[in-house]
């Protein structure tokens, strides 16, 4: 799977990469009978297994009963991810203690580089309520599939790589139902009320 993706991306075109990611999404959802093919599963129906930035195991059932705000990214990304984390930190600041019950999780799409320690270094720069989650390549693939998130490794000329990934922030009600998506860089006037609706 990983090798096939690398080969296809090796052809070099981002267009091909995106087309392939969409293809993966369609293929994945065909053998999954429940849930909408495009929207995240309810948290209680998810079935992934990750490790947080403190090295503690985290499973979806741990989150049921609390509102959830989760998004995918990677810490080698200097623009999109810090922008999202800054936005989230500002939203949390505005919500104040009301958001203390909220689970706020950055799930990496780059587990090769984002070890728990790398995530810990990174999230320590932002609101302390934000946790980082990582796992094996397979564990991250499973989590991404449950959230209907797409990602792909994009090689660079110098042998390094970056990641394309779904950029939205997912909100869930305390009972695990999917609530809404906050788009990348969405205005605070729209984002904060969306979060507030999951808190009550």
């Amino acid at each position: 799977m990983q090798r096939r993706r690398a080969v296809i991306l090796g052809l070099g075109a981002t267009g091909a990469a995106v087309a392939f990611m969409l293809g993966v999404g369609a293929w994945r959802t065909r053998d999954r009978q429940r849930g909408n093919a495009l929207l995240p599963l309810p948290v209680g129906d998810m079935d992934w297994d990750l490790t947080d930035h403190r090295g503690q195991p985290v499973r979806p059932l741990d989150w049921v009963g609390r509102p959830v705000m989760a998004f995918f990214g990677f810490t080698w990304c200097p623009d999109v991810c810090p922008t999202t984390l800054n936005d989230i930190s500002l939203w949390l600041e505005e919500l104040g203690p009301d958001a203390d019950r909220l689970v706020v999780a950055l799930i990496t799409v780059d587990p090769d580089r984002d070890t728990p320690e790398a995530l810990a270094d990174y999230v320590s720069n932002f609101d302390p309520r934000i946790i980082g989650l990582t796992g094996s390549a397979e564990q991250v693939e499973k989590a991404a599939a449950d959230f209907r998130v797409k990602y792909a490794r994009v090689p660079r000329d110098d042998g390094d790589y970056t990641m394309d990934h779904t950029a939205g922030v997912f909100l869930f009600h305390p009972d695990g139902r999917f609530a809404s998506i906050i788009d990348f860089h969405e205005d605070r006037r729209f984002a904060v009320p969306k979060i507030r609706r999951t808190l009550s």
């Binding site: 995106v18 080698w76 200097p78 999109v80 800054n86 950029a167």
Partner: protein
Amino acid sequence: MKSLFLSTALLLAAPAAFACGTFTVGDLTIEHAWSKATIGADRPAVFYVEITNGGSTDDALIGITTPAATMPMLHETVVTDGIASMPHAMSIPVPVGETVALSPGAYHGMLMGLATALKEGDRFPVTLTFENAGDVTVDADVLSLRAEGPDCSDAGQ
């Protein structure tokens, strides 16, 4: 070239707030050159800046170089069908009468192969290459990882 640049860089005469210097080349004015602190030297850094074209010819930013990184590159963050990617930007248009910003979540300089980690308070030179106006070297100031941009309200501009 260097002395021409220095004579046109008005700000060098006056103390400026952090990342609030102004640089010029031809009819272009370059302001708010800044970067963010990095965690170590392995992760890439960013470079943000604002360019105003006060002339009568369209121009374009076509490259950046800096001693701070072996592989600096212009990127554009784009979100297509909800998926964020950051392709190489070959040429960032700077049309007559407009201000173009490299800013978080949009165009940015991506500094890969850092010589050393960037710490808040550091300053490093970045040379911008424009299609028509040529080269200009500006100072980029390193703000915190949490910064959204320089605060130049006290800079007396």
